[in-house]
């Protein structure tokens, strides 16, 4: 019986193939130049699209599934638990500390990067001797691999042999080692949050500056000259011409930077790992420590997905500017 079925299998199948082939030819795939071009084009696109779909699209959907399951490392079967993971997160005070720190970190560092970046950009667009060298040196923080520079900062923030403290104590700005006026950068809650933000600002300000410079050089000098001719003061020119023209670029730069900042865990992980006592815990480190270290994949996925509401407006904004570029 089964043999007959198996034997019969291919024969109904064979005409079907022919039929499909015939139909394909009927709508003239491969016959007209346009159809050939489409076929060629989508074939060229396929590897990239498939790769991204398989390793970004599917994992993204899978993370939604993980977030509503009790999946954990080393346990292959996961049960559906509904919104349990989100509920657990929302009831956990550590989660809310992380949310607060994430917002403070991202906003505070973002503003600092915007200010420093703008100042630096204004200096760097001036024509002066050695500009290329200065520019190459100033962007070093952004070009160094992040883990590498964070290790350098960890040494500079050392509780006892910090070079920053050495300089400050020589200037008599802080007390001697061991006294309460001796700052322990990564050990005191407020200072620790400041320190991790500072490293983020240090890494990001060259990026803001370069983005702004690219925008500023695109302002035609004639417009500024026209403003001068019409008697606008420097401040007026700044407010009425330069700011409106660079604001969109600063905005785009900041949006990209915020996406990078929100998803970066290496600064906090390597400097404080969320400590002291949760003072620097941000959502990325909490998600890592919950999902990988403690092995609660479901819980971790729920925490990392809670970054999504923060990221989504930025992604929509960037999507809209990218679309505008096309037309």
């Amino acid at each position: 019986m089964s043999q007959i079925a198996a034997g019969g299998g291919p024969s109904p199948g064979a005409p079907a193939t022919v039929a499909v082939g015939g139909r394909v030819r009927d709508i003239s795939w491969g016959r007209t130049a346009t159809a050939r071009r489409y076929l060629f084009g989508y074939t060229l696109l396929a590897p990239a699209v498939l790769y991204v779909a398989l390793l970004v699209g599917i994992p993204f959907v899978f993370s939604l599934y993980l977030a509503v399951s009790d999946a954990s490392v080393g346990v292959p079967v996961a049960r559906f638990v509904g919104l349990e993971n989100f509920k657990a997160a929302l009831e956990n005070s550590a989660f809310w500390t992380a949310v607060r720190n994430t917002v403070v970190f991202t906003l505070g560092a973002g503003i600092m990067k915007g200010l420093l970046g703008t100042a630096l950009a204004f200096l760097l667009i001036q024509p002066f001797k050695g500009r290329r060298v200065v520019r190459a040196l100033v962007v070093i923080p952004f070009t160094l691999p992040i883990a590498v520079s964070v290790l350098g900062w960890k040494w500079m923030f050392d509780s006892q042999f910090s070079v920053i403290n050495w300089a400050l104590s020589r200037l008599n700005l802080i007390g001697a080692y061991g006294s309460p006026e001796w700052p322990v950068w990564l050990g005191q809650p407020a200072l620790a949050l400041f320190s991790v933000m500072f490293v983020n600002v240090w890494r990001g300000f060259p990026f803001s500056a370069i983005v702004l410079m690219a925008g500023m050089t695109s302002i035609p000098p004639e417009i500024i000259d026209a403003g001068k001719v019409d008697g606008a003061t420097f401040l007026q020119r700044f407010r009425k011409i330069i700011v409106p023209m660079i604001a969109p670029i600063l905005f785009i730069g900041s949006a990209f930077d915020t996406v990078f900042t929100l998803s970066d865990l290496s600064i906090v992980y390597l400097l404080t790992n969320g400590g002291p006592d949760g003072a620097t815990e941000i959502l990325p480190t909490l998600a890592y420590n919950t999902g990988i270290k403690a092995g609660a994949l479901g819980r971790g996925a729920a925490i990392s997905l809670s970054l999504f509401p923060l990221l989504l407006p930025l992604m929509i904004l960037l999507l809209r500017t990218l679309r505008r570029r096309q037309y």
Binding site: R37, F40, Y42, L45, P47, A48, V49, Y51, V52, L55, V56, P59, F60, F62, S63, L66, A71, V73, A119, Q126, V134, A136, L137, V138, V139, I140, F142, T143, P145, A147, V148, L151, G152, K154, W155, M156, F161, W166, W202, F207, G215, I249, I252, V259, S263, D264, L265, Y269, P284, Y288, L297, L307, L311, M315, L319, T321, L322, R323, R325, Q326
Partner: protein
């Protein structure tokens, strides 16, 4: 007569020069804090890497210079007492494979999106680029499952599989912009001469697009050394780690930090990456901000 002739041409340049000097001084003064901020940490890491151990822990002398002769000991330690050699080999191998995968996928995709007037090409291009913005912090947990399903956990091959999720979207976008600038005529000329569409791509378009291809390779290469999250999440076996992860995790034993070797190991890979990245920074920036500027 002669004095007048000499004096007049000199007066104008001198005030001009004084003005220019004043301007330069002001600009340099403004830049000084930024330069100090950017460069000092690197200088400090370098000094630390070359110092002898006792020289690191002295607060009574100016720490910015050597009080004992500089030493290569910290570098020596890296290569003889840790798996640093393995980490470099791993990093290079990861960078090589990621670049290869990226070129093989992003070049055809970028070309198709830019040149073949496909329906939905713009939306597809934007869609691919948007995946660049889906951050690793959302993807790393599900990818951990993917990696263990592929049985790649604790092997650097897991990073070869995962990094293209960042490089393909970015480089497709970058190359799309690049291919748009190649004139259609040279491609048409090649096709008139009997090349097929593929022949025209391989023989004419690619050779004139080499700066774009190099940019894609550099991006892939540097990304493999910039990432920390995926390496941390997927690789925990010492001899499989890439350099940044190895340095950050293996040179700290409990509370003991091998600061000299830490800095040596970090700089040894950090400085080359920074130099290469520096050269290609403008392309990177215009890749992601072209939207607002054009």
């Amino acid at each position: 007569m002669a004095t007048v002739a000499v004096a007049t041409p000199y007066r104008a340049p001198r005030t001009e020069r004084a003005k220019s000097i004043r301007r330069h001084v002001l600009i340099y003064l403004g830049l000084l804090p930024f330069l100090g901020l950017a460069v000092f940490p690197i200088f400090w890491m370098l000094v630390t890497a070359l110092k002898q151990e006792p020289d690191l822990y002295r607060m009574d002398v100016v720490p910015f210079w050597f009080h004992l002769p500089p030493t290569w000991k910290n570098f020596d330690f890296l290569f003889h007492r840790t798996s640093y050699g393995d980490w470099i080999v791993n990093t290079m191998a990861i960078a090589f494979w990621v670049s290869a995968i990226t070129l093989l996928t992003a070049v055809p995709a970028g070309y198709a999106l830019a040149r073949l007037r496909l329906p939905f090409a713009e939306n597809l291009g934007i869609g691919i680029f948007m995946t660049y913005l889906v951050p690793g912090i959302i993807l790393f947990l599900p990818l951990a499952r993917v990696v263990s399903t592929l049985e790649l956990q604790d092997s650097w091959w897991s990073l070869v599989a995962v990094y293209p999720t960042i490089t393909i979207p970015f480089c497709t976008w970058l190359l799309m912009g690049f291919f748009k600038t190649v004139p259609f005529e040279i491609e048409e000329a090649a096709m008139v001469d009997g090349c097929g569409q593929l022949g025209a791509l391989l023989r004419v378009v690619l050779p004139v697009s080499w700066p774009g291809l190099i940019t894609a390779v550099i991006f892939s290469f540097t990304l493999s050394m910039q990432d920390f999250l995926y390496a941390l999440a997927f690789v925990s076996v010492s001899d499989q780690k890439p350099v940044p992860l190895g340095v950050a995790t293996e040179l700290i034993r409990g509370d003991v930090y091998f600061w000299g070797s830490l800095m040596a190991g970090a700089l040894l890979v950090g400085v080359p990456v920074a130099i290469v990245y520096n050269l290609f920074l403008d392309k990177f920036i215009s890749g992601i901000t072209g939207a607002a500027i054009k």
